[in-house]
């Protein structure tokens, strides 16, 4: 017996949903660029000990401020092919420090995003699902958080408790949850009204189980998009904090701290300032493009 395929011709000829998704992803150049750069940065950060030509902490005062390779003056006193991107003010290899800097930025951005994501999503989903008084209280907490100037508080905390990588992660994680909470709250409110949520409630599924199994999968897309925004935000804030001396401390190779150390050479060696900033810019740009692209790609799937 032959199974009868009663789909129409268009349905048969139409590509499968997965093929459509694939086509959308590979047609979206900025998304590909963002994802590509992120993957590259993560690989560089993970393989830093293999990729870096020198120890990023090794100082050599006889080789202070060597020029990068594009510089016109290539006399041996100023340029050494061993240091492709030159050296900083205490003779540390700049390329190696830039490579290890990716570790610091990614670690802080990712950890802070995870902490704030957990806090914000919990608050937002609770407010959106229960509404009423719970919503009122959580909304108030969100407003208090928004009224506090993050950067000023982070600087003060850095001063009081002593700035370090862990403190930066903790402060940013405890402060950047507001957007998670706001977005999760409004999406949970919509998801709560869905028929299948009502159905689950009617057949007696427990509230925690409804939240985890029925509501949470709906907020996942927006959650990822907000996560990229906050990760980029945390990376920029860490750089600014380190630049002012209240973030990651010397001799760690943080891009923000490298900008701080290079500031006094602004007049004669501006490339010392250009390079770490370019790395920061590239990473944040990639994360933003990835987030924007993710929204386009997933939203289109919902419409189809």
């Amino acid at each position: 017996m032959v199974a009868i395929d009663n789909r129409s011709a268009e349905q048969i000829l139409e590509p499968s949903p997965l093929a459509k998704l694939r086509r959308r992803i590979f047609g979206h150049y900025s998304f590909l660029f963002g994802a590509g750069v992120i993957v590259l940065m993560v690989l560089v950060a993970l393989a830093a000990p293999l990729l870096a030509p020198h120890d990023p902490y090794y100082t050599d005062l006889s080789k202070r401020i060597q020029m990068p390779f594009w510089h016109a003056d290539t006399t041996p006193a100023k340029y050494n092919p061993d240091h492709l991107l030159g050296t900083d003010k205490v003779g540390r290899d700049y390329l190696s420090r830039l490579i290890y800097g990716a570790q610091v930025s990614l670690l802080i951005g990712f950890s802070a995003m995870i902490i704030s994501g957990i806090i914000g999503t919990t608050l937002g989903v609770l407010a959106g699902y229960f509404g009423g008084r719970v919503d009122l209280v959580i909304n108030f907490i969100i407003n208090v958080r928004l009224a506090l100037p993050v950067f000023l508080v982070a600087l003060s905390v850095g001063f009081v408790f002593g700035a370090s990588l862990e403190i930066v992660i903790l402060v940013l994680g405890l402060f950047l949850w507001d957007r998670f909470a706001v977005v999760m709250r409004s999406i949970t409110m919509q998801a709560r009204e869905m028929d299948y949520v009502n159905a689950a409630r009617a057949i007696g599924v427990s509230t925690p189980s409804i939240i985890v199994r029925e509501v949470f999968p709906n907020v996942l897309n927006s959650l990822t998009v907000v996560a990229t925004v906050e990760m980029a935000n945390a990376i920029l804030l860490e750089a600014a904090l380190s630049f002012l001396g209240f973030g990651v401390q010397a001799p760690e190779p943080s891009w923000g701290l490298m900008l701080n150390e290079a500031r006094e050479y602004m007049f004669f060696h501006p490339w010392l300032l250009t390079l770490p900033g370019l790395m920061l810019f590239l990473l944040v740009l990639a994360i933003n493009l990835f987030g924007d692209g993710l929204r386009d790609v997933t939203q289109a799937r919902e419409r189809a």
Partner: protein, 305 residues
């Protein structure tokens, strides 16, 4: 409307109380202000004496009430380091930061509104794509690095603009651009989205059908309506600009409130830091309250919720 206004006012006040109590107790519990005042050479007796004079031996809630009561009358105490009235110090610094904030927002609006409108007239055109490209690049540019790059280019190499201080208007050009461009992408996207929505509405079609000249339709009918959400976002962005002014003012040695707050933190000057946090929180609360009330006045549906 009255009930709604009162309700919002009450919440705003409550937010300020919680924010001030939080900052006050955190800063007093985390560090010892008596040590900061006495300096490193002080003996244990001196520190005890300072504790008694400043009232640090009192319970924390009592200290907070005393501080908050004075703050209500505009008295934020005396700076530990400069021995000056904090309110006077703030009043001296504020015009600089306000000038910077207004210049920065003016720059952002002058850039974002024309770009947003042009992009909305022809969505997906070359202009639209260029505007989007600029917005995406702008969002990823670290503010303080952009400021440093401007300094290197226009201050050090071309020598067009001064790089430090706040003596003349020229000193404000680079800081305002560095601070303002950050608000540009968000404002531009909102203008574009608003314009696209309004341009597709029925009353614009009617206006066009009546034979009104395209510029009249564009500016009198469309932009006026599309601009409303941009106004409330501008209010919020102004609050961000005050926060962002810390790095920018420090880099350009522009001695406003942002510079003062960094200086105060370095010197553990608690009364100054607390006052600045409270003032920034007040700004945020008042601006969002104003935006909420404006929206409620324009859209009656908001009031009932």
């Amino acid at each position: 409307m009255l009930t709604y206004t009162l309700k919002r006012l009450f919440v705003a006040l409550l937010i300020l109380i919680v924010v001030s109590a939080l900052t006050f107790s955190m800063s007093h519990l985390a560090s010892d202000p008596a040590m900061a005042i006495a300096g490193e050479t002080a003996s244990a007796e001196d520190i005890q004496e300072i504790r008694r004079i400043y009232g640090f031996d009192q319970p924390i809630w009592y200290q907070y009430m005393a501080w908050a009561g004075k703050a209500l009358t505009g008295d934020f105490g005396t700076s530990y380091h400069y021995r000056e009235q904090v309110s006077v110090m703030l009043a001296q610094r504020f015009p600089t930061t306000l000038t910077l904030g207004i210049c920065a927002l003016a720059f952002a609006l002058l850039l974002s509104i024309p770009m947003g409108v042009l992009a909305a007239i022809r969505p997906n055109s070359l202009i639209d794509r260029t505007a989007l490209f600029i917005a995406v690049l702008g969002q990823a540019l670290p503010t303080f690095w952009f400021a440093l790059m401007l300094m290197i280019l226009f201050g050090v190499q071309l020598r067009w603009l001064p790089i430090s201080g706040n003596a003349t208007w020229a000193h404000f050009v680079m800081p305002a651009i560095a601070l303002g461009y950050y608000s540009t992408p968000a404002l531009m996207r909102l203008t574009r989205a608003g314009m696209i929505e309004v341009l597709n509405s029925d009353y614009i079609r009617t206006a066009r059908a009546k034979g009104l000249r395209p510029p009249t339709v564009m500016f009198k009918h469309a932009l006026r309506n599309a601009i409303l959400p941009v106004v409330s976002l501008t209010a919020v962005q102004f609050g961000f600009a005050l926060g962002g002014s810390i790095v920018i003012e420090t880099i350009f040695n522009l001695k406003g409130v942002g510079w003062l707050s960094y200086d105060a933190i370095l010197r553990a000057d608690l009364p100054v830091v607390q006052a600045i946090v409270l003032v920034i929180a007040c700004f945020y609360v008042v601006l969002t309250l104003a935006a909420d009330l404006l929206n409620a006045a324009l859209d009656p549906r908001i009031r009932v919720r």
